[in-house]
Amino acid sequence: MMLEIDNLNVYYNAIHALKGISFHLEKGEIVALIGANGAGKSTTLNTISGILRPRIGSVLFEGEDLTKIPPQDIVRKGIIQVPEGRKIFSKMTVAENLDIGAYASNDRARIKSNMDMMFQRFPRLSERRNQLGGTLSGGEQQMLAIARALMAEPRLLLMDEPSMGLAPILVEQIFDIIRDINEQGTSILLVEQNAQMALSISDRGYVMETGKIVLEGPSNELLVNPVVIDAYLGGGHD
Amino acid sequence: MTKKYAFYVLLIVAVMLAACGPAATPAPEEPMPEAPTQAPPEATEAPAMEEKASFAFELVAEDDGASPEGAAAVANKLVADPTFVAMGGHAFSGATAAAIPIYEAAGIPMLSPSATNPDLTKSGSAVFNRNAFTDVEQAKAAAEFIFNNLGFTKLAAMHDGGDYGQGLAQLVADNFTAMGGEVVAFEAITPGETDYTAVLSAVAAKSPEVLYFGGYNAEGAVITNQMAQSGLEGVVFFGCDGTFGADFLEKTGANGEGAYATTLVPASSPEKDAFDAAYTERFGVAPGVLSPYSWNAFDAGNALMTAVTQVAVVSADGEPEACASDAFGCAVIEPGQTIKVGYSGPITGDYAAFGQDMSQAMMIAVDAFPPIEGEGTLYIPRGALVTAVRTMSDFQGIAGTITCQENGECNASGPVLYVIQDGVWTPAAR
């Protein structure tokens, strides 16, 4: 098992944000974590990345507990997050953003070849490589955020709401990219409010509600689960 | 993590303690082991026949930061102590002015070694006296010397903006104009800085022949050093008692050659040499280095304690007559207690060197002064002490004679003019 979360309890001061969640991810999988705003999805990702610390529970990555390891060392183990809201460095150029993505590596030739690969994969970024990140459009910023994460050669990619704020056509494009990344061997933990899209590309899914996991199963089963349809796929949600 | 921080904290504390130990800072509360005059603790155990008490003097050095508000706080604190009898300060004119009314109300005589602003003795205070000479005499002597002896007619006056420096520069300028000279520039500097080339360039544009500076040696030395590069080559630097001293020599080196100062630093005498040796040995630095007032401060301390011994009464059977008739009553010193003499000046901050120097000089005076002996309790009539200081006559100190006039001006020796020749302060011929 690549990632195993066991009885994770996280607090923001007095607020009990994660109330003992457990789930796992196998190597090569795409696992979707779906749920409404405030369900604790981003909290889960940030706890895996080491930005937040659990009060109780463990995060095992290939058998090693991450809950005492600082964030920068978790990155070095190959767990890379694409944060919610993209969080690209707006006052740095596109090329600098990609450089920062490969911060953990000192192999300059490899960084260079990876960057060339990214520019091949995302021609739009190549055109704008010397532009400041803040001047890019939303879709371009999302591509930059993904490319930046790929620069670190992730083994497990944590993606937080990659579709947020994007036009439907761009959402399609982003999800194609995600599938593509997975096919090249990277495991992905995908957090989404857009349950339809998330479940359609993932292998398995977990449904979160107010800090708990309330449902789990293969994605194709969740897609037809009446509860899921009612709450996340029905009216209103795009 | 916590352990780590604790370690750092301990480290810092250790460094601080190490620094405090042998440092030259005054620590008036600590008993002075080398002082021969400590109140003997065995007084109570001694046989009844020889029941003699010994009342030693103690220096209470306070930090007023050279500011009026700081001085008022110090004065209020000191007058609350019933064993506090006299003040050898304050150091700076502005601070002194703020403190005078507080001592006036409490009947504490003052004898300042360094507050030279002329206005201080014009307010009619009964308690304020000084053995510093006034800036009126100093300015007059300086202006006359510049005009008559040096023969200069174009003067630039500069000052540091303080009560002392500005007052002095203004007096010199006034005197100089009255004699027929021309004051071509009158500029102020910000004290504490080390680059005055801009203001000196502005002064240079007015082509003066001599530059008078009212202020202290730190700024005076900076100005002297930067005159040539600012277009004031060959212009004579003329300082005051604030710029006199070994420190000025050291800081100006060759640039100081030919610079003048007015001061009351005495020529060598056995008493002065003994003081110099004692000061140097105890504080690791020669008097006159930290401030030019070392000798004056020593004299002020001795003069005050002499006045105390003149009026003090030791009595074993209750309050003496002198106390009842005294307007301020008596300071009552029980056996085992000390007679507190104060000093107040800037002991921290930018002018810390001044305050520390004077308090150190006074510490030497206080520790060497013989205690008052007698049977019973010591009574010091405060009003009588105020009068004793004000009427002091012919007290021979190492820096000159102290004879107080009715307004509290006690310096009877007047300023001496010095010029730097071959790197040494040399008395200048009038």
């Binding site: - | 750092y8 801009a198 930290l290 810390a352």
Partner: protein, 366 residues
């Protein structure tokens, strides 16, 4: 952080009363300045060109030192959003570092009777800068580790108060350790204070002091080096990333604490260099040496736009020039130079809170 705010510009600002008042104030200030300039330059014409050149030289030299210190304020502000008020004291520690090296080297007498200091001026100066820079860097490092890091999550006001406390602590610690008297820098003979190249302007000798030229050139070199580090190196990228978003930086594998430490070290190095320049050029150092330059450099940093590195450089130079030229140009007393400097600061905050080159000081940042 204001990430996207700058791209959203209102097309037409409403005419609020505040704006009108500011406009009127601006007109009054400008009219006043022009009138004073006219009086001084045309009517009185007290100063010849040689005097103005002297003013400018003084200003550039001190401006370079201000700029180096100001960069420290701006770097730390950029990364922690705090004003490190103890930074002036960090500079003072560097000044003492250089002082003790010069004392040591001038006490070594070589076989030909010269002191080591005089015989090897270049080496002595390099050693002094190395010692001063190191002393300040170490001071900056421990300042952050001991005083600021435990408060990383505390409200900013607490950090500010801590910084002021640290400033007082360092000042008094230096007084206890080194004594209160001002100490004279023993420059190598080749760098004797006051000596220099002479240029004749308007039949008057204008001196370009060796110490001043060295300080100015070195401060330019150091600023260029810093700019290179920040813009072109991995550490520089990490510093910028941390200043923009600490969490995201950590997600990129950047050790945020380490970068913050290094920022304090770099700030310290620059301040230490400024301290040694201060000593070499101005001559005297004591425990209070850092206080005024620290406040001035803070002013310079705000003037240029706090958080903005080129802004700190420009702000330092502008402040230096304003201080030396300003009083004469406006026909004011030279003691008012600080008043002029701080007035400019207030006007800047009033009319252009972002500083000369900076981004807006949003409430979020303060």
């Amino acid at each position: 952080m204001s990430m996207t705010k700058s791209s959203v510009q209102p097309i037409q600002k409403p005419w609020t009363s505040g704006r009108v008042i500011r406009l009127v104030l601006a007109i009054i200030v400008i009219a006043l300045l022009l009138w004073r300039l006219y009086t001084v330059l045309v009517v009185q014409a007290d100063y010849g060109p040689e005097t103005w050149v002297r003013f400018s030289i003084s200003g550039l030299i001190i401006g370079g030192m201000y700029a180096l210190i100001a960069i420290g304020y701006t770097l730390v502000y950029g990364i922690l959003f705090m004003i490190n008020f103890a930074h002036g004291e960090v500079m003072m520690i560097g000044a003492f570092g250089g002082y003790f090296i010069f004392e040591l080297l001038s006490s070594i007498v070589l076989s030909n009777g010269q002191t080591f200091n005089d015989a090897n001026p270049a080496l002595s100066i390099i050693l002094a800068f190395a010692a001063g820079g190191t002393a300040s860097a170490v001071a900056g490092y421990f300042l952050e580790r001991i005083a600021y890091r435990p408060l990383r999550k505390a409200p900013r006001l607490i950090l500010l108060i801590t910084a002021i406390g640290a400033s007082t602590f360092l000042q008094n610690a230096a007084m206890l350790l080194f004594g209160p008297q001002r100490r004279d820098y023993t420059n190598p003979e080749a760098l004797t204070r006051g000596s220099g190249w002479t240029v004749v302007i308007n039949n008057s000798n204008v001196t370009l002091t060796y110490t001043g030229v060295m300080s100015f050139v070195l401060s330019i070199i150091l600023m260029a080096a810093l700019y290179y580090i920040v813009q072109r190196t991995k550490l520089g990228r990490a510093m910028r990333a941390v200043s923009q978003d600490k969490n995201s930086a950590a997600l990129m594998g950047i050790d945020v604490d380490d970068v913050i430490s290094k920022t304090f070290i770099i700030s310290g190095l620059l301040a230490g260099a400024a301290g040694v320049m201060w000593g070499i050029h101005n001559g005297l150092v004591n425990h209070y040496t850092g206080f005024l330059p620290g406040i001035k450099a803070f002013t310079a940093a705000v003037l240029g736009g706090i958080g903005n590195i080129p802004g700190a450089m420009v702000g330092g130079m502008v402040l230096g020039i304003v201080e030396s030229v300003g009083p004469a140009a406006l026909g004011l007393d030279f003691q008012l130079k600080d008043v002029i400097a701080f007035t400019i600061l207030i006007l800047m905050l009033l009319f252009r809170p972002s500083g000369l080159l900076g981004e807006a000081l949003t409430e979020e940042k303060l």
